[in-house]
């Protein structure tokens, strides 16, 4: 089991990967990716019970579904650094003939990915379906999923959220990346959603809040609490408060870097703030 410093070092490396991937192809989504780096590292290094190899059915292990597929850079980096495919393949992000499509897909048989995402609002339903199959298979492992906060403006989520409570799907931990930003501005400016905690609770979910979503220890503690609340007849939601662009000072607290790549000089500054740890790809 890695210690906290090792997880922090890996997170710094993941941030370097994200910056270098989007810089190389001058496209992609660094902001949300950087904000979720700690969550992904904690999830894949510590939280999930995973098999060494990848198979689509994933019987006998925890599964993860990414609903806000545009943060593919952080997903690909952590998948590669968790051993699903060679880290050198990060070099092919968004290039023609690559398995690392702009948004994640199963179409190119990339190990670690079980569903295409990118068109928003679909991942909650998919994760719940996988959770139902776990129950049918008498597989006690859990389903984890991640959703953007802006993404919850898509109505399908609320169909799924209603379904989950109504059918007591209690083997899922759905995390919402609460960074308060979306493409056109802050979520409060674009479409205020009020209290997501109150909304999830009103729909019959158990809600766990992680207020320091860029702190590894806080994530591990909060996710352990969330896990302890599974299996009690209610679906579990984690509201993970993160800072978009975290770890690169000029990218933080703004929606400006949602879908914009850094130039050479900006990349250099970003990498300087995130020195190489376990090794660049």
């Amino acid at each position: 089991m890695p210690n906290t410093q090792q997880l922090k070092d890996l997170t710094t490396q993941v941030r370097r990967d994200i910056l270098r991937m989007v810089h190389k192809v001058n496209s992609g989504h660094p902001g949300g990716s950087l904000g979720c780096a700690e969550f992904f590292v904690a999830l894949y290094s510590e939280i999930m019970d995973r098999k060494d190899h990848f198979d689509m059915d994933g019987i006998g292990e925890d599964l993860f579904f990414l609903s806000n597929g545009h943060i593919s850079p952080v997903y690909y980096s952590v998948l590669a650094r968790s051993g699903y495919f060679p880290v050198n393949e990060l070099n092919t992000f968004r290039l023609i003939n690559s398995r690392l499509q702009g948004h994640p897909t199963t179409h190119e048989n990339l190990p670690g990915v079980r569903i295409a995402s990118g068109s928003l609002g679909q991942g909650m339903s998919v994760a719940l379906g996988a959770a139902q199959t776990k129950k049918l298979n008498k597989d006690s492992h859990l389903i984890y999923s991640l959703h953007g906060d802006g993404e919850l403006q898509e109505g399908q989520n609320w169909e799924a959220i209603m379904y989950a409570a109504g059918n007591k799907v209690d083997n899922i931990i759905a995390t919402v990346d609460l960074n308060g930003q979306q493409i056109d501005g802050s979520t409060d400016d674009v479409l205020p959603m009020g209290s997501l905690k109150a909304k999830f609770e009103a729909f019959g979910w158990t809600v766990v809040e992680i207020n320091e979503g860029n702190d590894i220890e806080a994530i591990l503690k909060g996710m352990a609490e969330a896990k302890s609340k599974t299996g009690q007849g209610k679906p579990v939601c984690v509201l993970l408060k993160t800072v978009m662009g975290h770890g690169v000072d000029f990218m933080m607290h703004t929606h400006a870097w949602h879908g914009k790549a850094p130039n050479d000089e900006q990349l250099a500054r970003g990498l300087e703030q995130n020195p190489e740890t376990v090794g660049d790809y």
Binding site: T105, H107, I115, S119, Q122, V126, G129
Partner: protein, 317 residues
Amino acid sequence: MKTYTNTGNKDTRSGFGAGLTELGKTNENVVALCADLIGSLKMDDFKANHPERFFQVGIAEANMIGLAAGMTIGGKIPFTGTFANFSTGRVYDQIRQSVAYSDKNVKICASHAGLTLGEDGATHQILEDIGLMKMLPGMTVINPCDYNQTKAATIAIAKHHGPVYLRFGRPKVANFTPEEQTFEIGKALHLIDGTDVTIVATGHLVWEALEAAKVLNAEGISAEVINIHTIKPLDNEAIIKSVSKTGCIVTAEEHNFLGGLGESVARVLATNKPTPQEFVATNDTFGESGTPEQLMEKYGLNSDAIVKAAQTVIKRK
């Protein structure tokens, strides 16, 4: 001329229900989902016999498609059930991303397709669903003709790995497919041999094509009738072979001519063997309220329309 006997009118949706009941007994991986239309889709038996494998999702079709996609992960074979309109247009992006692009083994089972839904009118009578579904890469599109064939198709698609759109209807129609006939996806069925004109029909229009062939035969016109139950993948060979003999073709379907069977056939012929073709299909229009018979008459989708189309296309040879 070979003739077929109607063993008694039955609805194709009940064929689906019977097929699903059979699958419940024979394949423990089959699960079923329904969006508040259990009775209409004839899913009651499956629900009663396998409550643990049946999922009532409420009036939430987008969620139903996503749930079905997720359920395949771990080996289940989900059959979703709702009306054709809500199985396709309402959830197109969910099917596109979570099912087709993700190559998930989901069977989208769609009842009340086309005009023969009847009195509910155009909001529920989708005439564009074949086009929507056939355009999705990897999607198999099946439109069986009667009760027995719908039952056999339902059983057959469980054995096929990949997304399938299975389209059927509401009214009781002639049931003439032999009960024991197995269903082979993508393999057209040669129903009547003929030499003057080929009639390829799908769904409810197959029986109308058989009726039309009788009328044409009485006029001294020898019509070849082919049942194209699978629109994608299309049995190109059967179509090319038939028109090589007859030299002209009529396509018949309960669907808009834009995007339907006729267009798929036209493409095959244009690239292989250019052939005069007439389309029995709706003409870029919505439907309306009425009885199924009145609607099929008004929109030109019955045996009379097929006879006229055959007479027209023969003159174009």
